[in-house]
């Protein structure tokens, strides 16, 4: 599974890189779905003894919403801590506590879907830690979290465009305009000017 390459877009559309091992006092690795191999690919870049790095590592893994479960490649790695959570929501309380007590010198490695990486990034930012030092590599599903600009409700796992807001029912088109603070793309009413005229949905974010 290779790193996702996104088409060129507007400046607020996040761009993800490739994970690299860095100096740190602790390494927090979080992944979902195919992101597990994003983590193992990063570890394979460590030239010498990996055990020093892994002794300082804490891995949190969530199987993909698409059913992909790569936890077996992570379990036996020898990380100081490994935890598998059923969903991103369920993992958040644990993550928040880790962040609350974290020290400077901690390194973050996120891999998987934009939804997972975005939500974790937002939680990290709430500690005052700068977002640009959080490493992120996209792998797997392109499905998006979309916030309806009208009712503010967020619809998860949006794969089609346009789609129906899961909260207020308006038909929304999905913009590439993205907010790190909310960790979501913006959805705007598509038939405001001509109510009822809604183009057929395309599968854009599989």
């Amino acid at each position: 599974m290779v790193t996702t390459v996104f088409p060129k877009s507007i400046k607020s559309r996040p761009i993800y890189g490739q994970l690299l091992p860095k100096h740190g006092t602790r390494h927090l690795m979080i992944a979902d779905g195919e992101g597990a191999t994003g983590l193992t690919d990063m570890l394979s870049k460590i030239k010498n003894d990996r055990s020093e790095f892994l002794n300082k590592s804490h891995i949190v893994y969530v199987p993909g919403v698409n059913g992909v479960d790569q936890s077996d490649v992570l379990v036996g790695l020898g990380a100081a801590q490994f935890y598998k959570s059923p969903t991103i929501d369920a993992a958040m309380p644990r993550l928040r506590l880790i962040l609350q007590d974290a020290r400077m010198g901690i390194q973050f490695y996120l891999s998987g879907t934009e939804s997972l990486m975005g939500r974790v990034q937002t939680a990290i930012m709430e500690t005052g830690y700068t977002h640009s030092a959080i490493q992120m590599e996209h792998r797997g599903s392109l499905s998006r979290r979309v916030q309806c600009v009208h009712c503010k409700g967020i619809t998860e796992n949006v794969k089609i465009d346009p789609f129906k807001c899961g909260h207020c029912g308006l038909h929304l088109f999905v913009r590439d305009h993205y907010s790190r603070r909310i960790s979501a793309f913006q959805g705007v009413n598509i038939d405001a000017e001509d109510p009822g005229v809604v183009p057929p949905s395309e599968e854009r974010f599989l």
């Binding site: 860095k22 100096h23 740190g24 006092t25 962040l99 974290a102 020290r103 400077m104 010198g105 901690i106 390194q107 500690t127 005052g128 830690y129 700068t130 640009s132 030092a133």
Partner: protein, 320 residues
């Protein structure tokens, strides 16, 4: 084009703090409040020193909330260009001077959960304003201050009195050193570190922070940049049709100003890009001393930053 309005001030105090450092206090000539500023800001103080006009940069150390006066501290540098010597020897209470509006290249990151200050010598000055600012706002901070000795550590006792256990001092003559690695490793996530002092100290803090896994955006520094001195050289200004010599202790920018030509500037230390000037022709070598361009970009753009850069050769013509 200078851009900033100047403020006419009067010196009310010129106090010797220790053998190297003198403190100066300014009030506005017309008795009005001075402009409010953000901690970390500096002003330029203009001085006419025997026909040479200099603008030296000094951090404001006064409390930002007190607009009745500005206070600065000047460390005497006997081998420098002469600005600090002038301040020490010639600036007396009652004297009228001209200063710039405050400008800030060393602000606090107000989102930080905690501010960790590392000061060396005269680098203590911006932190005095920072701590006064933070005390009023109930933010977490800590100061680690290194000086040659207790006697040469300006304001050590004063700071310990006000801030107590938040202040940690280290004196070279007692072989006391900041245990920087330990200090950095123990900070809670969301801490920012700020360093101001001699160049080697700044490099040391930046490198240690990187090795400890701190992101660049959480490491802030201010270097007190002065234009380097060098051999005199001749320069021609194409548009103003002037030719003059830049002397040893004078920067190219100062020489342009002395020739009566207004040139844009902001930091006067090679860090902000405001003074970038096009080179019309050059027969010789330009000594690029700025921190703005990458080394290979200088030739690509055919420009020079006159606030810090110099020249050696047959002729230099600038588009000014």
């Amino acid at each position: 084009m200078i851009g900033d309005t100047k403020i006419k001030v009067r010196v009310t105090d010129a106090v010797t703090i220790n053998p190297l450092i003198k403190q100066f206090r300014f009030v506005s000539c017309d008795g009005s409040d001075l402009p409010a500023f953000s901690s970390g800001a500096h002003i330029f103080v203009e001085m006419e020193d025997n026909g040479t006009r200099r603008l030296n940069q000094y951090s404001l150390m006064s409390t930002p909330e007190d607009l009745s006066c500005y206070t600065i501290s000047v460390r005497r540098d006997d081998v420098g260009r002469g600005g600090s010597v002038f301040m020490h020897n010639s600036v007396k209470p009652g004297m009228e001077m001209v200063i710039s509006h405050p400008i800030n290249f060393f602000p606090l990151d107000v989102r930080a959960r905690k501010h960790l200050f590392v000061a060396g010598g005269i680098g203590i000055t911006p932190f005095i304003a920072h701590m006064a600012q933070l005390l009023g706002q109930d933010h977490k901070f800590e100061l680690h201050y290194s000086a040659r000795s207790h006697g040469l550590g300006a304001y050590v006792d004063h700071l310990k009195d006000i801030y107590g256990s938040k202040v940690h001092c280290y004196f070279d003559d007692k072989n006391q050193k900041i245990n920087l690695e330990n200090l950095l490793r123990g900070q809670a996530i969301g801490t920012h570190v700020y360093v101001c002092g001699p160049k080697p100290m700044i490099s040391w803090v930046r490198q240690t922070a990187e090795q400890c896994g701190w992101p660049d955006q959480a490491v802030h520094y201010e270097e007190f940049l002065a234009p380097p001195t060098g051999k005199p050289f001749v320069v021609e200004l194409a548009r103003s049709k002037k030719i003059f010599t830049v002397s040893t202790n004078q920067s190219l920018l100062e020489a342009i100003e002395a020739a009566g030509v207004d040139a844009p500037y902001l930091c006067r230390g090679g860090a902000c890009g405001q003074c970038i000037t096009n080179v019309v022709s050059c027969d010789g070598e330009i000594e690029h001393n700025d921190h703005w361009f990458e080394p290979d970009e200088h030739n690509e753009f055919g420009t020079i930053m006159p606030c810090v850069s110099r020249f050696c050769g047959k002729s230099l013509v600038l588009d000014r």
